[in-house]
């Protein structure tokens, strides 16, 4: 397509890229051939579209051609069966289990079960983050204690005598064997361990949130589907009612 003006090439390529992005699950060779065919069509349609303005011409061609989603609509299911199944097997299994779990109780009951499960999962996430917060706080406290022990022995002693800091017998005995600097250092090391745990949890939390988001999306999709079914049923019910009353009227 060398005799296209640059801007037209850009718009056409952009469109082809959008089609391609819809074809991710189609085998590469088939994908390429499909795109080549569309490209050929767009070129010819562009040549046969009269007009002064290049951009208006290519846009008219693409408008007549249709949205990428429409163009590939029928291609996806078969291709998914052929090439997608292998690659996304774990995902398919997971969604299979989820549908197995949530799909059987249909209607409002199913939605209620789903809402319950999601609420529980959300609570787990909340508890996870709360625990993480506590771990960080503990770490910070140990750090402060360690620093006080090292730099402000006077304050430390006062805190101990006032009962703000209290160690059980075996721990106190163990700490007393160490010099003040050693005690402080030990406290800071413990603080570091806590902070490291907290950071680890933060890192894990990312996966947790991502997993939750997936589940929530899945669930909302499901709820939407149920809502649609209910709506059509209600509509059909109304029609049924209309028909019955009509029939009654005719009989009289």
């Amino acid at each position: 397509m060398n005799n296209y003006p640059d801007v037209v090439t850009k718009i056409a390529n952009d469109y082809l890229a959008r089609v391609k992005s819809q074809l991710r699950l189609v085998p590469a060779q088939e994908q390429e051939e499909f795109l080549r065919e569309i490209e050929s069509h767009i070129f010819e349609a562009y040549q046969n579209t009269p007009g002064e303005d290049d951009v208006a011409r290519i846009l008219a061609v693409l408008r007549k051609f249709g949205e990428p989603a429409e163009v590939v609509a029928d291609r996806l299911p078969a291709a998914m069966v052929r090439s997608g199944a292998k690659r996304y097997l774990p995902l398919h299994l997971l969604s299979g289990i989820l549908i197995g779990l949530f799909g059987i109780p249909l209607g409002f009951g199913g939605v209620a079960v789903l809402a319950g499960v999601l609420l529980t999962l959300a609570a787990i996430v909340a508890v996870f983050y709360a625990t993480m917060g506590v771990v960080f706080l503990t770490g910070a406290l140990f750090l402060v204690m360690g620093l006080i022990r090292i730099y402000e022995p006077g304050v430390w002693d006062k805190l101990v005598t006032n009962g703000f800091i209290h160690f059980d017998r075996p721990v106190a005995d163990f700490l007393d064997q160490l010099p003040p600097g050693g005690q402080g250092l030990l406290l800071i090391v413990i603080a570091a361990v806590f902070v490291a745990c907290g950071l680890g949890m933060l890192w894990l939390g990312r996966y947790l949130v991502r997993g939750m988001r997936f589940l929530f999306n899945l669930a909302f999709d499901r709820v939407g589907k149920v809502a649609r079914t209910v709506r059509t049923k209600v509509r059909e019910g109304k029609q049924e009612l209309g028909r019955t009353s009509e029939a009654l009227f005719v009989k009289q």
Partner: protein, 129 residues
């Protein structure tokens, strides 16, 4: 009760889906075409408004089922074109499907009697019996 345009569009799409495939097979029965020329033929012979891109999934489906044979042919006016023609299996299926379609279309276009008249006839029938 309101019937939305969206629902109407959905029904039209549904209706077109199978029939358009049949029409494509009909065009490719005697002549070989590539996507763009096929669209031209279809839109010239009727005032139906088609999104041109939707022809390609149909062609791909026919190709997958062995009903058409596809071939790339160089063109002196631009990029190569992919030509399609019906295979013998495709021809045979088209013959059968178009018979089925005739039956269906006669059902749709038949002039059904208005309700009063048919009630009247029913009464006559009852009296005779």
């Amino acid at each position: 009760m309101q019937y939305s345009d969206e629902d109407k569009d959905r029904r039209i799409t549904q209706l077109r889906k199978g029939i358009l495939e049949l029409a494509v097979m009909g065009v490719l029965y005697h002549d070989r075409h590539y996507g763009y020329s096929l669209i031209r033929v279809l839109s010239e012979s009727s005032s139906i408004s088609l999104k041109e891109g939707t022809i390609y999934p149909i062609l791909a489906r026919l190709d997958r089922d062995g009903l058409v044979r596809a071939e790339w042919v160089e063109s002196d006016q631009g990029p190569p074109r992919k030509y399609y023609g019906l295979t013998s299996a495709g021809r045979q299926l088209f013959d059968e499907l178009s018979q089925e379609f005739e039956l269906l279309i006669s059902l749709v276009q038949r002039k059904w009697k208005a309700p009063e008249e048919s009630a009247h006839r029913k009464r006559l029938f009852v009296q005779k019996g």
